[in-house]
């Protein structure tokens, strides 16, 4: 127990990320199921309007910040150091700090479901209710007087710190801790996409932090950043939010694209087609993602010139994305494809993501988007890219790396069941949303009129959501079964080309008994020019020093939610206590002897 709480081992932190994020994913999914129940019929009465608004807000926020980002982070943590032949990340304690901040931030946000009575309100009454994008000025104190939005803005600020800290850590890890010979253009694509993602994180999160700070000053200290009466405009929030928000969606998709780029070659027994192009298009996607944010604001009246510019930049992103898709298909082409579950999910990613990508292009045309924005057509888009894309990709990663992470192979037959149920379920759930939207149903409404003619489509969608739930139960059963009865994994159950497969599953604490020297992009495969590398010896030639754990990252992390409680409860001294804890944590951390 203690060893887990104080751990600084990237592998353990990866597993902590995984389990925490997976639980949050189920929570977000359960919220989605309640949403779908409410919408199964017109004029539904499953939940009240207030509860519904909290549900979709928390669903979006949870899925984005507490499920998908940290699920990706679990692979950054577990896999990236292995892929680059490192013993750990560059700053192991900072890594632990990131995890604890993430956990506490997530708990802080979700505490809002239960602490209503402390604010003289009912249970299920003070959870955030302004949407995952919290548009000002609805989120100003005047229109949202309760603590709901406070939980949201403070929680997101805490989570931002976690992501930023991890961002610096992984940038340095990937750039500076590569094994000898592992040049940048030899890095596995997953590691590359991780690197791009981290750059997006460290540049995008400060922007939303500023937006949230403004909102905080407006709500707590009477500032007017988003109050039009004072000469300001609520549109500033939208700019700041989407300046962050659009890079954020690429933060969500790029790691999954990286995973797919690992899984396809392994199971097609063929190197990734156009490695260089795939890498550069990933970099380009990340870069271009900065110039398109106003496509979320086509209805706010930016004027024809701005609309045209942002339409063009947005459409351009289809080019590098398409390049990746075609290279993946070319990777499969001429291969010797093994239909493992991981491959199923990777192919499912391509097949489904493209639907979301193409509806994205139809959003990118402002006049067309005027009919689509804020309707279920957008909800269809986001779930095709996020569920059809990111979730499919992450599951590909889970099936692919689970043996490495736990030493046991997930059951393939159950995996296939999981895949097909999820694949069918997601299409049944999300495809009808295209029609629901085009037929005029706005998003974020807790009730709709039977006259709209979308009742049956909504019912179908609800059925699909429950199919997804069943598929996830199959997955959970698979996890459970694998704990004790899963087939034990060898070093390399799949015949992978990258370094992580050269060491035992699960790897020893020190990862590599001897740090390998790399001579090829596919070190473990025979290529025209290279023989496969030698796996490191099973036992290290000499003792390897492994850093002990540390309590300080966790202590420091506790300072942040304490500080957040101060404005929430209007108790000044809590701010000092929180800051004190943070400082004590940092000093303890800085001055404790710790050998990296």
């Amino acid at each position: 127990m203690k060893s887990w709480l104080t751990t600084t081992d990237h592998k353990r932190i990866g597993l902590l990320y995984f389990w925490t994020a997976f639980v949050f994913f189920l929570l977000g999914g359960i919220e989605a199921l309640v949403i779908r129940l409410q919408l199964a019929q017109p004029s539904g009465h499953v939940v009240s309007a207030e509860t519904y608004n909290q549900l979709f807000t928390m669903h979006g926020t949870t899925m984005v910040f507490l499920a998908l980002m940290p699920l990706s982070a679990s692979f950054f943590n577990y896999i990236v150091p292995l892929q680059i032949g490192a013993r750990d990340v560059a700053f192991p304690r900072l890594n632990a700090f990131s995890y604890w901040v993430f956990l506490l931030g997530g708990l802080f946000l979700n505490a809002s479901w239960f602490v209503g009575p402390l604010f003289k309100a009912g249970m299920l009454n003070v959870a955030p209710d302004g949407g995952w994008f919290g548009y000002a000025n609805l989120t100003e104190r005047q229109f949202s007087p309760g603590p709901n939005i406070d939980f949201w803005l403070l929680g997101l600020q805490i989570l931002g710190i976690s992501s930023l800290a991890a961002g610096f850590n992984f940038i340095v890890t990937i750039l500076n801790l590569r094994a000898p010979g592992l040049k940048l253009m030899r890095l596995p694509v997953f590691t590359w996409m991780t690197l791009v993602t981290q750059f997006l994180i460290i540049t995008a999160f400060p922007v939303i932090t500023v937006g949230l700070v403004f909102l905080m000053f407006d709500r707590f200290f009477g500032a007017h950043f988003y109050v039009h009466g004072a000469g300001a405009t609520p549109l500033l929030w939208q700019h700041l939010f989407w300046l962050f928000g659009h890079p954020e969606v690429y933060i969500l998709i790029l790691p999954a694209m990286g995973i797919v780029s690992e899984v396809l070659p392994t199971f097609a027994r063929k190197p990734l087609f156009g490695y260089t192009v795939v890498v550069y298009s990933g970099i380009l996607i990340g870069f271009m993602g900065w110039g398109v944010w106003s496509h979320h604001m086509f209805a706010v009246g930016l004027g024809p010139i701005a609309d045209s510019v942002f339409a063009a930049t947005t459409m351009l992103i289809a080019v590098p994305t398409g390049v990746k898709i075609f290279n993946w298909i070319a990777t499969l082409w001429g291969g010797d494809i093994r239909g493992t579950t991981a491959l199923h999910f990777a192919v499912g990613f391509i097949a489904m993501f493209i639907i979301g990508g193409l509806s994205g292009v139809s959003h990118a045309s402002p006049p067309a988007d005027l009919q689509q924005t804020d309707t279920y057509y957008v909800v269809a888009h986001i779930h095709y890219v996020l569920f059809g894309g990111t979730i499919m990709g992450l599951f590909a990663g889970i099936y692919y790396w689970w043996p490495k992470m736990t030493g046991r192979l997930l059951s393939e037959p159950l995996g296939k069941w999981h895949f097909w149920l999820q694949f069918i379920g997601m299409n049944v759930a999300f495809f009808p949303m295209h029609f629901i939207g085009l037929l005029g149903m706005p998003r974020r409404i807790y009730t709709y009129s039977p006259d709209l003619g979308v009742s049956d489509l909504n019912l179908v969608s609800t059925v699909g959501a429950f199919l997804i739930a069943v598929s996830l139960l199959v997955f959970i059963a698979n996890l459970w079964r694998t704990r004790s009865r899963g087939e034990t994994a060898s070093n390399d159950p799949w015949g992978g080309a990258t370094l992580e497969w050269s060491i035992p599953s699960p790897p020893p604490v020190y990862n590599f008994s001897v740090i390998p020297t790399i001579t090829s992009r596919l070190p473990r495969w025979r290529t025209e020019l290279h023989a496969p590398m030698q796996d490191p010896p099973a036992t290290p030639p000499g003792p390897i020093h492994v850093p002990g754990g540390s309590w300080w990252p966790m202590v420091a992390a506790f300072g942040l939610p304490l500080m957040a409680l101060a404005p929430l409860t209007h108790t000044l001294w809590l701010a000092f206590v929180g800051a004190g804890v943070l400082i004590v944590g940092i000093y303890g951390w800085a001055f404790e002897p710790f050998e990296v």
Partner: protein, 335 residues
Amino acid sequence: MTDTSRVRLWLVTLALALSGCAGPFPQSTLRPRSDFAQATDSLFTDIFWWAAAVFVLVEVLLVVALVRFRHREGRPAPKPAHGHTLLEIAWTLAPAVILVFVAVPTVRTIFTSSGEAPADALKVEVIGHQWWWEFRYLDLALTTANELHLPVGKPVRIGITSADVIHSFWAPLLGGKRDAIPGQTNYIAFRADSVGDYSGQCAEFCGVSHANMRLRVIVDSDTAFGAWAQAQLGPPATPPKASPAEQGRAIYARSACIGCHLIQGVSAGVIGPGLTHVGSRTTIAGGILPNDSAHLAAWIADAPALKPGSLMMRMKPPLSDADIAALVAYLQSLK
């Protein structure tokens, strides 16, 4: 048959097939009834076909690859292929070219649908409120709520703004939405091409009852529109002596109602919708309830029960049933 109507037919048929009911889809974006809606619809149709082509291409390639190259015993190991410059160039350029075909009409449509209208267009100001709509006809000095009457075939220019938070004005058959933002006015312009009753609703999340912020646009013939405007401009009806309606007016005049509602010559509130001609409307409360005695009575007794969060709070002290009945009679007399 044009492309537009073909895809529309296709989509609607599919939707019909899926939904099994013969709904008229009052908010469908695929049944344009104005030049503006027409323009966006045909643009969307174009994009749809390009997207469909790309989709089919990619999925077919994917399936073929999977079927042709799936693992079979004894198959020789695949030849490693690291890339192919020509192919890379081809599949970079092809999408780029397609995008030009999408971008050019897009930009053209942006400029033709940017809200500019001829000088003689009917000018209406739409003001979003939590959770109802106010409509002001600038040239007619006329204000109404939740139901917008427009003449068919005439250009109209709608200026959209908000009194509180951000809303979005949307009547899909007549065109795309525009956000109603406090401190800013956005414009849409269109010409409705057929008489009818078009429903719409607020499309930007605006708080508890965002779902209950609906509206209708009633496109009248020229004469019907003139007659309607004439009637709206008149003073409120005076209830006959000793009728329940007259009693209702007295109750109205001494109740909290006057603080929030406007009835010309009776009260001058501005928080809620004007009621001078409330009897002429077909719905109340942001278009969610029919304007009949039962609903009016229930609304006056306890508005938030019918519309969560409604800013028209429950009357304190509660009005008696008799008072409510009289109020209803009065409001219904205000044709």
